[in-house]
Symmetry: C2
């Protein structure tokens, strides 16, 4: 593994991949829990560089550590600063998160656009970051003025207020998405990652021959049972039954299961028939 | 405002727009706080139809109400069911959220794809929903088997575990995004919504004539101060200074501010010069 550089290498839980990920800067955060939840959201999407400007309840903070859960290393590695200027001093490009427009001429980015802008800058070697304000009032105008652009999420106008960890989560999620990950979900010793598309691919799709075998089996039995009548309706009935199997994208195992079902049901029927006759 | 239909009209906090939004079904949720945070995430992105299957700590739940904050109406309007089957009985298309692939042949969708699939179905009149499992273990295989497809978010392999409210938030956010909202952030009596692009558009961009006036003023003063030397470097120095103003996308107010700055600085310099001479 490469260290990004000597400075970040000194930080516990620091970014150790070649690509420097965005710093998340919490400006005057109030509740320890929210710092912890924000750290957890960062870790969920591969971010590590947490910076705190004058956290209200001091630092370290046990509630932050508890709320972070498995993401405790991100909390442990957080750097604390006295001022916004100090916290972002080493960055080349900084966004300010705010829920409402300000009387300031600045580019406004959605989380999705922000992530792709920062991704491009980071890949060109820039150090980038996103500032989030205190829970009660958000970032003040002095902090916003220091940013290159504004980050604002689309929200319902009726309930527009995102919590601090929610806002961090949305950016972090979009950051991971901007890397176009193919894997979804958890990867463990036992589980491969999921990808979009059909899961369970170790089971192969049924061949058409297997399906035709099933159709013949089923339709023979349905004919025998007098189900596919009257005769003029038989073609459309057969078509719609066949279509159900095509629609389900049946696997070879599915076909075997259905042939078993048909056999089992008709065995019973014929057994009953035997009794009656 | 239109009622979506008579049934949903009876529900407090029910969907009142023409488009029926997805139901969020929390299956055996454990912590009241998480139900409340999930409700808040729903409300932030315009979802209202919250359904609970056998919540562990009973219902109603004060912690859920408190955690929901302004989204309390979503909690108040939640419907409670004994079984997953009962909770999704009226739905046409249901997703199951899970963090890891299962031994089941089912389509896997990212939150973004899931939102656009559900959006399309809802616009065609289908009732759709997304199931989320209990905090400890997630949805069991019996619940997953009842779903049309699986929803799995992209996450960092090292910290893959999303909390229940985080998972609800990501889907809800992608749902709102799938409606292609133009407005970002909060809308109040005083604040218009933000949109992507340059904020503060009541301030117009500077005209080229205003900029040229500033350039002339500034360059005259810089020539006077002997800054633009040697002469062979002057053209490239002038170009790079002018370029900075173009890059910042200066407004008319910016130009006035800079002309003030240049005047103020040169007044001081000449004043100083006067004293020295």
């Amino acid at each position: 593994m490469m260290k990004a550089n000597a400075e970040s290498g000194k930080r516990a839980g620091a970014q150790s991949a070649a690509l420097i990920t965005p710093a998340i800067i919490l400006v005057y955060p109030q509740l320890g829990e929210n710092i912890g939840f924000a750290a957890r959201a960062m870790a969920n999407f591969g971010l590590r560089d947490l910076r705190l400007v004058a956290p209200r309840d001091g630092w370290p903070n046990d509630k932050a550590r508890a709320a972070a859960a498995v993401a405790e290393p991100v909390v442990e590695g957080a750097m604390v600063y006295d001022s916004v200027e100090a916290a972002i001093g080493d960055l080349n490009y900084v966004l300010a998160t705010t829920a409402r427009p300000r009387e300031m001429v600045k580019r406004v980015l959605s989380p999705e656009t922000a992530a792709s802008v920062l991704q491009e800058l980071a890949q060109a070697g820039a150090r980038v970051g996103v500032m989030f304000g205190p829970e009660r009032n958000g970032l003040d105008n002095d902090a916003i003025a220091l940013a290159d652009a504004i980050l604002t999420a689309p929200v319902s106008p009726e309930f527009a207020s995102l919590s601090l960890p929610q806002a961090v989560l949305l950016f972090s999620y979009e950051w991971l998405k901007s890397q176009k990950p193919e894997a979804l979900g958890r990867v463990t010793t036992f589980d491969d990652p999921a990808t979009e598309g059909l899961a369970g691919s170790e089971m192969r799709g049924a061949t058409r021959a297997e399906l035709f075998g099933l159709f013949e089996h089923l339709e023979t039995e349905l004919d025998r049972a007098g189900f596919l009548k009257p005769a003029e309706k038989r073609p459309s009935m057969v078509r719609s039954i066949r279509n159900m199997f095509h629609r389900m994208g049946a696997t070879d195992q599915d076909v075997r299961t259905w042939r078993g079902i048909v056999s089992a049901l008709t065995r019973g029927q014929r057994g009953q028939g035997d009794k009656v006759s």
